[in-house]
Subunit: 254 residues, 2 copies
């Protein structure tokens, strides 16, 4: 038995999220079906992160234990062939040790949230960014975001169905920048932490958007955080602007 780590990109639009569910197609199901076609084995894919319906990934990392003798390159090529026409692409595959775990070995997760400030509906970035028909003040958003960095009780920014035992998390980075995107100006919000609560990034982005458009004073982010109450949340940003960017592991592992 060999443990393989796979790094793959997906467009979350047609999926009910990453994790296998009773209803609707998921990324895990598509991956496991492709793996079955390659190996003939009923495999379970374990992943570094979970993503909601509509959320994308640039480089999700998962692992799987396979009996069949395959090189990483051969596995990657065959899985990609069988994944079609699903919008999933495996960019990297390697053999890892049997005590390496995509979720438990992971030291950090990075997310990106894209906002396109314009009145016209998105055509080329449709379902790839949140279109907001107002000019947002990225500097004010960046200042306000810093109140969330560090170790806090993030109950306000947590889904009511979040299953984490503890609402206390350490947010290592939350940076807002204005960028010149290929299809026009965008605001990018970069979030990094060891782990996140369910809906945490989208909840933080939703409140920062209210700051950016002037509906919320910058200080209200702190008030919302300190309330430790979901009722203090301004709004949840939609899933299609969110990307799982990277899973971080100890050097030399994976």
């Amino acid at each position: 038995m060999t443990r393989f780590a796979l790094t793959y990109e997906f467009d979350g639009t047609p999926f009910q999220g990453l994790q296998r569910q009773k209803h609707g197609p998921t990324v895990q199901q598509a991956m496991e079906e492709a793996l079955f076609k390659v190996t003939g084995e009923e495999l379970t894919l374990l992943s570094s992160g979970r993503t909601d319906a509509g959320v994308h990934a640039m480089a999700m990392v998962s692992h799987v234990d396979i009996e069949k003798d395959l090189t990483p390159f051969r596995l990657m090529e065959a899985v990609n062939a069988h994944l079609r026409p699903n919008p999933i692409g495996v960019n990297h595959c390697e053999i890892v040790s049997e005590d390496w775990h995509s979720r438990f070995s992971c030291l950090g997760r990075r997310y990106l949230y894209r906002i396109a400030c314009r009145r016209a509906p998105l055509a080329l970035a449709k379902k790839r960014a949140w279109q907001v028909p107002a000019n947002l003040d990225a500097d004010a958003m960046q200042r306000a975001a810093q109140a969330l960095v560090g170790r806090h009780d993030f109950t306000t920014f947590r889904s009511t169905i979040c299953q984490a035992k503890d609402p206390v998390k350490t947010l290592d980075r939350l940076d807002v920048e204005q960028v010149d995107g290929l299809f026009g100006p965008e605001i990018h919000i970069h979030a990094e932490a060891r782990s996140f609560l369910h809906h945490q990034v989208r909840s933080m982005v939703g409140c920062l958007k209210l700051v950016g458009q002037g509906t919320w004073e910058e200080a209200r982010i702190t008030t919302a955080l300190e309330a430790r109450d979901r009722q203090a949340l301004g709004m949840n940003a939609p899933p299609h602007g969110l990307y799982f960017v990277e899973a971080l592991y100890p050097e030399g592992q994976k």
Copy 2:
């Protein structure tokens, strides 16, 4: 009667090109139908460029003459509302003089061609770039491209159904660069000319790709050009990597 110039983005994937045709949906048809819903007038949209099925536009410029009294902002908002769910977004609208013409006043056109060099199928940039499963030498492509810049007979790089009277065109710019795209490394090819022949950009890109992968020597671009023969063409790049980027007009006009 007022002449309006509209600048709009579109995803070319679901369309049989820009220009109205007997069969299949086109961008022009979608735009004219939205304009009819707003004005009640049977209008003809005239455009700075033509694009093939699957080719995208970041900023196509078209004009239309309208009887109904409308501000540019009101027209843009209403057209965008009626365009849904077509992947077309009008980003700019203004009143222009009656002797201004989106096609005949246009002094130059800019195109971008995107190539993603990777083995995995594209997920996030699916139908937005040409996936090539080889590492292309962008420097060799850039050197080879310079042989095409200037005034030449581009018969080799011209579709057999091209309707232009003269195959001689002046290519002002053809630059190849390696860029760090949001979803991974890409090669971008920038082309600029007063006007292009049918399939010219895609034909030039197809041959440059052969240079980039080492199938063609750099000098073969010159041989192909001098042959003035479609048979000397290496290959046509697919439409979905191509973007109409900008139409250039005399300063102060539009």
